[in-house]
């Protein structure tokens, strides 16, 4: 298993600002993902954070809006840029190891409210 710490756990932000969410894992992992869970909706994959290279984004998500860093195998950040109220959501970091039959471990999430 892996223990994941996310910061901040929650924040209230002003429209037009940016916020960076950090994800720290207690062990080296192959796969790191960022999900979004909008109110009343399911988890939607934003991107795969790739160590040492650019993240791989899912359809509907772009690097300019959600820049991601992953400098090593235990840490990643997601920035939500130029926020609008539609970005109010829970952002979740999840990790797994390739070939580990699909079991992902999740952080507690970062709840963002944009005013």
């Amino acid at each position: 298993s892996a223990v994941i710490s996310q910061k901040p756990s929650r924040d209230i932000c002003q429209r037009g600002t940016s916020l960076t969410i950090q994800c720290q894992v207690d062990s080296q992992v192959t796969m790191m993902f960022w999900y979004r869970q909008q109110p009343g909706q399911s988890l939607t994959l934003i991107a795969t954070a790739n160590q040492g290279s650019e993240a791989t984004y899912e359809s509907g998500f772009v690097i300019d809006k959600f820049p991601i860093s992953r400098p090593n195998l235990t840490f990643s950040t997601l920035t939500v840029s130029n926020m609008s109220p539609e970005d109010s959501s829970i952002y979740l970091c999840s990790v797994g190891n390739r070939g580990n039959t699909g079991e992902l471990f999740f952080g507690e999430g970062s709840r963002l409210t944009v005013l």
């Binding site: 994941i4 399911s42 939607t44 390739r98 039959t101 699909g102 079991e103 999740f106």
Partner: protein, 109 residues
């Protein structure tokens, strides 16, 4: 298109009653399916996966390719089963999970 559908947002039962949480999927390849659970104030965690054919906390789920379903079942619900349940599909060889919208299970005493 790859999709996971959970038709019920809320399922309420009394303790000791049978439970079935429905999940249907659409996927062109061979699916790998999972059930994740989130208890109150806890993080999302894996409950079971279809390839393991296991029973966890009394829950089982059988993959029915003909009906493209992966329903979660338990013969006798307990109060501690109250939680949010998500069905998920893994894209082949990617470790990426596609989640359904979730079903909240409430078990009353």
């Amino acid at each position: 298109a790859q999709r996971v559908t959970q038709p019920e947002k809320l399922l309420s039962v009394f303790k000791g009653a049978p439970v079935e949480l429905k999940c249907n999927y659409s996927y062109s390849g061979s699916p790998e399916l999972f059930w994740y659970v989130q208890y109150s104030r806890q993080r999302l965690q894996l409950l079971l996966r279809h390839i393991s054919r296991e029973s966890i906390k009394g829950f089982t789920a059988d993959l029915n390719k003909g009906e493209t379903s992966f329903h979660l079942k338990k013969p006798f619900a307990q109060e501690e089963d109250s939680a949010m349940y998500y069905c998920a599909l893994m894209r082949y060889n990617t470790d990426k999970l596609i989640f359904g919208t979730g079903t909240r299970l409430q078990v009353f005493p």
